[in-house]
């Protein structure tokens, strides 16, 4: 079987398992997230991903932005709300995105520098 088909089958199987766990246990988590956690646990136990999974997951990741297009077009459904509340929406999205990028990058760089200067052999 082609690695793309095999890998995609594994992804769907883990998504099904995730949905089943969420439904049976009544967890407040979306099914695909539970599927991701299950697959992650399985990969850690196994040690490495089979190459078929690499192919399928990387293929989807490469075209990730395409997958968001239908959800983005959904703005059509909420034109009235967005037009009514455009000031708070635009300000909140713009400012919080800029702030989140700046704070995350700054904290990461600062902590990584401190961490690596204390343990210089870590970078390999």
């Amino acid at each position: 079987m082609s690695p793309l088909v095999a890998g995609f089958t594994w992804l769907l199987l883990f998504q099904c398992a995730g949905e089943a766990v969420v439904q049976l246990a009544g967890l407040p988590v979306p099914g695909p997230v539970a599927g991701m956690a299950l697959l992650f646990a399985a990969l850690l136990v196994r040690g490495h991903a089979p190459s078929a999974l690499d192919v399928a997951a990387d293929g989807l990741a490469k075209h990730l932005s395409l997958l968001f297009v239908p959800a983005g077009v959904g703005v059509m459904l909420h034109v009235a709300r967005v037009a009514d509340e455009w000031v708070p929406i635009v300000v909140a999205l713009l400012v919080s995105t800029v702030l989140a990028i700046a704070v995350t990058a700054y904290v990461f760089q600062h902590l990584a520098q401190r961490h690596e200067s204390r343990d210089p052999g870590a970078e390999s």
Partner: protein, 243 residues
Amino acid sequence: MSAQPLFELWVYLAATPLAGLTLTLVAYAAGWWCYARTGMHPLANPVLIAVALIVAALAAAGTSYRTYFDGAQFVHFLLGPAVVGLAVPLAREWRSVRRLAVPIAGALAAGSLVALVSAVGLAYALGASPATLLSLAPKSVTAPIAMGIAEKLSGLPALAAVFAVTTGILGAALGKYVLDACRVRDWRARGFALGLAAHGIGTARAFQVNPDAGAYAGLAFALHGLVAAILFPLGWWWLRSGA
């Protein structure tokens, strides 16, 4: 030749899922062409261009979102397996993740909190309605997870998806300028920030710029989705039971 048969053909085609699916891929290809022609300029984001083209085409043809989505759902559906597949880069990077556990956990907590509090706080101060506030809360998380969270918070899932996609486009478009202004040169930090704040669309941008940035963006995107999917509904439940 009369226009009648052509019109009938158009009416027939526009009502099939084929039209919505084809339109999505053609618009994305056009968006990608513009992006590539501008040397991958961050402001020429392919998702933004594709969404604008599709909305214009649907409005011109008088086609409803529901009819469009009958076809587009096949693309939308793939978000599920794509989220599951995030476990693969996460497991691949696990060694370096464990080594950099402190910066990763610190940046994840700080960034997630800033994204949530600043968005909801600003919108609240400027008078947004409760449904808008609840749909804004998960906007830095990837669209399918944001929809799930908004549902648990009793917000509007479709609106949450729009906010998430808009945030992703904004982050991918503005990230370079913000990071340059903050003088962050570490590719890992740049990628992690893009993935955390702008989820999948930021991650796609990071992969196009630098492979290290891409790997850390994917990591931040997966971790933020996982943590937010668990903590946001629990936090909301705690807030409501406490008040």
